[in-house]
Subunit: 956 residues, 2 copies
């Protein structure tokens, strides 16, 4: 039976935190038919009803006996906020902790008190009259009590603040105050954070000396009523609870009031109490709450500690599930759990990854699916959020284009350059955004392709080939192969790319980035040598030719050996100390060993390199720091590399040293002199090379396929809640076509770039606005559309005319940004975390779930194998066989397969993921260890752990 | 009545965390006579008895019905450690969380079960027979049960591990196994962590299908018995608890067993159950536990979350106190609480700070007090820990001596230098260690004195005074003034130095350090200019005189204007490109504008500067990171500045550039050429200067007094649990004498250095060894003695001969270390934290106690006033009136006094501390806000917050 659960809608957060798709619970063998306890039956038949959010306020009666006054001392939506009396502010939202005794006292107070369910009162006055109609009160006391209840309470937000205006808020007397109050209530910033339709609950508690016995009343109003000045926000109140009594010791009524408020803030209690028909139901709900509470021992826990809201709320499914289990018996078999951990799509592949068995069947399906969304892909973009997304992604794209353009220009001796990078990015990106299956993807030059391009270039240089024509044929072949892959629906194989493969890929590329950045930086120090004091020759001066232009005097005394350079008699006649450039301008000749060295450049470059690296890293961290308003933090964090680059350029131009700069063509023509926009198909190459190019093309195809699809898998993960589906085949098809286009034009090759695409999605998150009071903002999905990407790439295209600005960027700054990218990508993998574990004593290791389930030696073994694979890949990359490295990457899948002989499926489940066929075999074998001790809690850990994107694979 | 409380001895930690001195509770008006409930009476008469530590182990029966086996699944001393079955390791220690229902089930199981108190069983076998003597069991079942109980359980530590050796551990059968087991038990690393005399408690729980009704048994053994293979460590067991029953759903018996174990780990439950005489007492203890538990609501807390052990355990005093209050009535008045917060000595000054009213009365008292400890001051040093303390402090002292020596040498143009610094540190430090009142203090040059010395030097240079003789007279006067301060017992005034003063002092000095370090670094760039490409002149060459020695040819064509330098015809005949030094050696003359610039030095120095600063900072953080074993972390953290300095030197000598180096004399003679060791009393100064020197001496005396006494106050804080008392007067007396000595010899002046002295104390901490299982190590006190300091300074003295090594230290490295010191001292103050608050949006501010009690605008106002004071001090320091800055520091005390008109005492109590007279006035006025809502919890926060040394004042 399909079951809707209480609190399912209110707790968007909790469903964001787990990845059991809604409605999945009933298909797992554990749940079965709903139990027949009265409470559960009620819950079971809830159907589509959705309860409004409840805002709870605790007003306390203070100052007995001298100066009685009501004062708001706490409020709850989910977490507790307390009034800090001294500081006059709200505390940070925190998990409320209660004393067991106050819950028990509350129980007896309710049991002996007045319970009015569906009370028809229409105003606060009527309500007060109903509530005070208690036998134990004499008429006189009743009047006193009524007056007291109608007294206007002090709220923290009141600007008048300190002085209580006793009784002035009585509705019939103080119309002026009434107005002021309403204005205040409306201006309360809290109001904006509560969704429309929210209801309120008022808890009034305190010590009232003239009562002889405690007075408890719980009222559920038939129709919610705005209770005038009682609440700090003008919400209609559904519940009203009065907890008064004679003087007691300690904080009795304060704590009982808090207990009531916490109870009301519990979604299941709320659900029941909204439907309770008598006192018994109410008390049963309290008992059900008590059944589920977690207890902390007094000797180890200071109750005054404030517990920060957990990142992930316990799922309401889980609470019900555990209750069901209590009644039903054995826990769900582990098969269902493995499924849960991996999200839904891996087990029963999502439609995008199901093989149709027809040629181009997947592509056709993708096109058909996407076509239906096409108009909405533009209409959905009409939201101001898209503007900021465009700005953010545009800057990142331009940075990328500059950086990769600079590197590609160097790697290919100018066959590609910054201009090509801008042009290609714009053209390929815009086309992709218009046509692709997943238009949120941002195309970019990526690390792996850059590495391959460099290898291809050195190969063709070594064999004296004409690079661009050769590259054209490689591109043609790659496009062909990729189309073949599309035709055969090869994209469904991505399910064999487990984390092991992803991380091996990512780690190798990151390492290459780091190695290259540092290596290029160090090569600058040989280009600009440091003058050590012991160097034999020194100085430079400018020699002018004889008036007759005769230089024989100088050439006559050429040095005979090394020592001579310094001690020879130069016999100069006309000389000056002009700097070399100036000397040449005036017709002289710079002479001397130091004429071509520029001092200070090496160290200054190193400084620029370190500055941009450290600054980018530091700015990235600003995003999660406590400083600055969130807007500033977001800007600093998102634009960290842009800002670091700008600062580096500023520093460089401030000192005005002759650091090596980015080479940018000043005209709109290919960077390589003397070539047109179209690459000639043969150039100086022999004809058979166009066939032989198929070999490197095969390798590149593997690379492109892996790079593109790993990224696509990450972007289409279930936790992003995409509505319009993925398009793995269509994406690859687009990439193939673009390969062809860029090869013909001699532009760089493009595939999906993970990090920047994730940033794109992140800037388009749809969130519920009302995320007040400690609750993490609830994530509703992504604004899926094609327009933002399109605009970004159009802007990038127009940025070609930035050339006059770009030529001020020093190369060391770019190297620094590259180091940052490599380090950032490297440190985002679980692999890095496991390598760090090698350095940590077991005592200090973080309490990773992984370590709870796999023995440390096995974890280390797995890490060691990964390290060994990485070492092997590195060695292959460094040998002349480097060009086959895409093949060795594919070999990682094979190694991963072989690991199934070394590690048990349980271990692999935690260390990696399972491959499709293994996954199918699990329900039979059983995943859990022999003894299921504490098994239940393990299950629940496994089941409801947050599944954040754990890996940022591509380095861009 | 004096009350000893249960658990007082076991919970050393908790008393380290608060600062209510033991036995202080009863003098506060709140507690009063002990209440007369039966439980409390028992607790009250505990007297000196001390219960042994209890180790609790949970063995679970698993595998029903196929393969029954006992397996250890959890253990407790204070926190819970759980067996991670998959990983085969112990979980991190964590605060156990229980379900309320399991506690209730345990209650009924115990109530209906067998309770044997003071059971006389002498062996496990006897115990098993006693426990199974239950009516409900048939003889057959009893036999089965007995066999099952005697089965050897699986412990996690067993090397054989996976396979159970069923029944083999039966005592009469398996003597071989017995031996192996004993060996195993003894080798268990846990054993070393438990103190001698510890006892064990075994909880056996599980599901046993053949039972028809649950079987609960709780046994307290009369004499603790080693229960053979039952426990993982061979401790005698005092308690034995059996919780078996027929199959239930879920984790029933696992959770009930955990509940029992957690109960037993609670100190108050333990205390009661050790003394319980019947079932009723046992159940009452369980109810008392339940009374005090903290409850977390189910919707907001996932029970599978593991809570890390809190830094500070709730005090057992507090638990009792809150119980007392429940019975007794109103909470203690706030006066007592203010006292608690500040530790004991501020309110009723410790004997060291009480005025005797006689001349030198305080000094005499100090001498008398210290004399009695004198022999023990040497005997107490006989501990290996002192060796490592010596090494650590020696290195820090040498680093300090080098750094300050280098800076002093620069500040005084060589009047003092590194040699003087070593000599003075050794002489003054050793003397102080032998004579002082607080021999744990390490004397050092400190920032404030350095600043003053620099001011004094520039003053005497500006007025062409002979520095050292002038300084001698200043020293003589300072010694005189200080002796007068000793005579008048002025040290008792330190109670007026509140945090406001301390922080103003510290912040100014830190700022000066930071400013100087950066300024000196930048001044290097003008000494070694960077060659920009636009500079008109360039190069350098070497000119040899004519064979006849005639240089007229060169001198004839001297430049007429700036432009000429570059374009003139030099008309050289004999020239070469030798470097300047080489050129001069060969008899030539280096000519040209670039002959005296050294390239690359400026940027390389900057790199060295940044490297040493960042490295020192990073290494300091290693101490609190998760990486490396704790020994390595400690070494890296403690020696961060030494290591950073070494690395800087290594880098410098690796590149071999001509960076400016530390100037060290190669002979044992004063750095300033031509002076003897004794400073002549007048030199070239007029005689009246010896009188006039009294004026700067007055200022310096204020400075010395503040620097010395603020440090002394910090070192003698109550939380260090010093037994031998302080000696404020004696310390100042020693400092005065040493001022005289160092002035006569022309050595630097010395006062106590906070940071290094704190490091000294830290390296001499006495801790209880057995701090296993998540409990923070309990701090017993400091090894107070004179020997470590003495040895350190003797070693420092012999390090004078390090000169050949010291001359390799580049100055930029020293500047980097200084920057690090300034930044570290600056960031350790609460002031810095409050300045940071200015940059944080209220939402993201940390949950500081301060912010709970003082409104944000008032906090910001206080910070702004402090900033303004700091700005004013900085301005004064930068004007010609700089030399009076000690006076302005004293002015801070006045400003603080004036703040009492702006802020309420409550606010000042949180933002600062209270001054003596205000403090006296508080009990009358009352500190709490008008309404005491939630007051109780505030009190307890106030009372039991950890009071760590919050400020590291002196920058050394």
């Amino acid at each position: 039976p399909k079951m809707k659960l209480p609190g399912q809608e209110e707790f968007e957060v909790s469903s964001a935190c787990k990845n059991v798709p809604t409605g999945e619970l009933d298909s797992s063998p554990g749940s079965g038919p709903s139990p027949d306890g009265p409470l559960n039956t009620k819950r079971g038949d809830l159907g589509v009803s959705k309860d409004p959010l409840l805002f709870i306020q605790l007003n306390e009666l203070l100052g007995w006996p001298q100066a009685l006054e009501w004062r708001e001392t706490g409020r709850w939506v989910l977490f507790e906020e307390k009034v800090e009396v001294g500081a006059g502010r709200w505390s940070v939202p925190h998990v409320p902790t209660l004393a067991l005794s106050s819950l028990q006292k509350l129980h007896s107070l309710l049991a002996e008190g007045l319970v009015l369910l569906d009370c028809p009162a229409q105003s606060f006055l009527e309500l007060v009259e109903q509530v005070t109609r208690v036998e134990s009160l004499s008429p006189e006391l009743r009047g006193q009590l009524q007056a007291l209840l109608l007294q206007r309470p002090q709220h923290l937000i009141q600007p008048t603040g300190t002085r209580p205006c006793q009784g002035s808020a009585h509705p019939r007397e103080a119309s002026y105050n009434e107005e002021a109050l309403l204005k205040e209530q409306r201006q309360n910033p809290l109001r904006q954070k509560l969704p429309p339709g929210a209801e309120a609950a008022a808890v009034l508690a305190g010590e009232l000396g003239f009562l002889v016995q405690p007075l408890g009343a719980f009222v559920r109003l038939r129709d919610p009523v705005v209770l005038g000045p009682l609440m700090e926000v003008p919400l209609p109140s559904r519940f009203f609870c009065l907890l008064l009594g004679p003087s007691t010791v300690g904080k009795g009524y304060h704590e009982i009031g808090r207990a009531m408020a916490v109870l009301l803030s519990d979604s299941q209690f709320q659900w029941t109490v909204r439907r309770a028909s008598n006192l018994h139901d109410l008390l049963a709900a309290l008992d059900a709450f008590l059944e589920e509470v977690t207890v902390l021992p007094p000797g180890l826990w200071d109750p005054t500690t404030r517990i920060a809201p957990p990142k992930c709320l316990p799922s309401q499914h889980k609470r019900l599930f555990s209750q069901l289990r209590e009644v039903k018996g054995p826990p769900a078999p582990p098969g269902a759990l493995a499924e849960d951990r991996h999200g839904h799509w891996l087990r029963t592949p999502s439609p995008e990854l199901q093989r149709t068995g027809r040629l181009f069947g997947g592509l056709l399906q993708d096109v058909r699916r996407k076509a239906s969304w096409y108009p909405s892909d533009f209409l959905d973009a009409l939201h101001p959020q898209c503007l900021s997304a465009v700005l953010c992604i545009y800057l990142a794209t331009v940075t990328n284009a500059i950086t990769f353009g600079g590197l590609l220009g160097e790697a290919t001796s100018g066959a590609q350059g910054v201009l090509e990078s801008f042009l290609g990015t714009a053209a390929a990106g815009a086309t992709f955004c218009l046509m692709a299956g997943q238009p949120l993807t941002i195309l970019s030059s990526t690390g792996p392709v850059l590495v391959f391009e460099r290898l291809l270039f050195s190969f063709s240089r070594d064999y004296s080939l004409d690079y661009l024509p050769f590259r054209l044929w490689v591109g043609i072949w790659v496009a062909t192969f990729c189309l073949a892959l599309v035709a055969t629906e090869a994209s469904v194989l991505v399910r064999y790319f487990t984390r092991f493969t992803e991380e091996g890929f990512c780690a190798l590329i990151s390492l290459i980035f780091i190695y290259d950045a540092v290596g290029k930086m160090l090569s600058l120090t040989s280009a600009y040598p440091i003058q050590s004091p012991g160097s034999p020759a020194y100085g430079c001066f400018c020699q002018y030719p004889d008036p007759g232009g005769n230089e024989s005097q100088w050439t006559r005394t050429e040095p005979k050996d090394r020592d001579d350079i310094s001690s020879m008699d130069l016999g100069l006649v006309n000389a000056s100390l002009l700097p070399p450039i100036e000397c040449a301008r005036r017709g002289g000749h710079p002479r001397g060993p130091n004429c071509h060295t520029v001092p200070d450049i090496a160290f200054f470059s190193l400084l620029l390199f370190l500055t941009s690296f450290l600054l980018a890293t530091a700015l990235k961290h600003v995003k999660t720091s406590r400083f600055f308003p969130s807007v500033v933090r977001k800007v600093l964090g998102d634009f960290s590399s842009v800002l670091a680059m700008l600062l580096g350029c500023g520093l460089d131009s401030f000192l005005g040293l002759a650091t090596p700069k980015l080479t940018v063509p000043s005209e709109f023509k290919p960077t390589l002199p003397g070539r047109g926009w179209l690459v000639s198909p043969f150039g100086t190459n022999p004809w058979w090379l166009s066939v032989a190019a198929a070999l490197p093309a095969l390798l590149l195809s593997i690379l492109i396929f892996m790079d593109q699809q790993i990224t696509a898998v990450i972007l289409n993960r279930a936790e992003y809640k995409l509505r319009k589906g993925a398009g793995f085949h269509l994406d690859l098809f687009c990439v193939a076509l673009l390969m062809l286009l860029t090869s013909v034009l001699g532009l760089p090759w493009y595939v999906s770039a993970t990090v920047i695409s994730l940033a794109h999605m992140d800037s388009l998150r749809r969130e519920r606005r009302t995320c007040a009071l400690g609750e993490p903002c609830s994530f509703l999905g992504i604004r899926e559309q094609r327009l933002t990407g399109l605009v970004v790439f159009i802007l990038t295209g127009t940025s070609i005319f930035l050339a006059p600005v770009l030529k001020f960027i020093p190369m060391p700054v770019l190297y620094g940004i590259f180091l940052y990218m490599g380090v950032a990508a490297m440190s985002s993998t679980q692999f890095t975390k496991r390598v760090q574990l090698l350095l940590m004593p077991a005592k200090h290791q973080p309490d990773l779930l992984l370590l709870r389930h796999v023995s440390l030696s096995r974890v280390h073994l797995f890490t060691a194998i990964q390290l060994a694979c990485l070492g092997l890949l590195w060695i292959i990359k460094s040998t002349p066989a480097a060009i086959i490295f895409p093949l060795t990457l594919l070999g990682l899948v094979g190694v991963r397969k072989a690991l199934e002989r070394v590690f048990s499926p349980q271990e692999l489940l935690w260390l990696d993921e399972l491959m499709p066929e293994k996954e199918r075999s699990i329900p039979e074998k059983g995943l859990e260890p022999k003894y299921s001790l504490g098994g239940d809690s393990e299950h629940s850990e496994l089941m409801y752990q947050p599944k954040a994107p754990e890996i940022n694979i591509s380095v861009n």
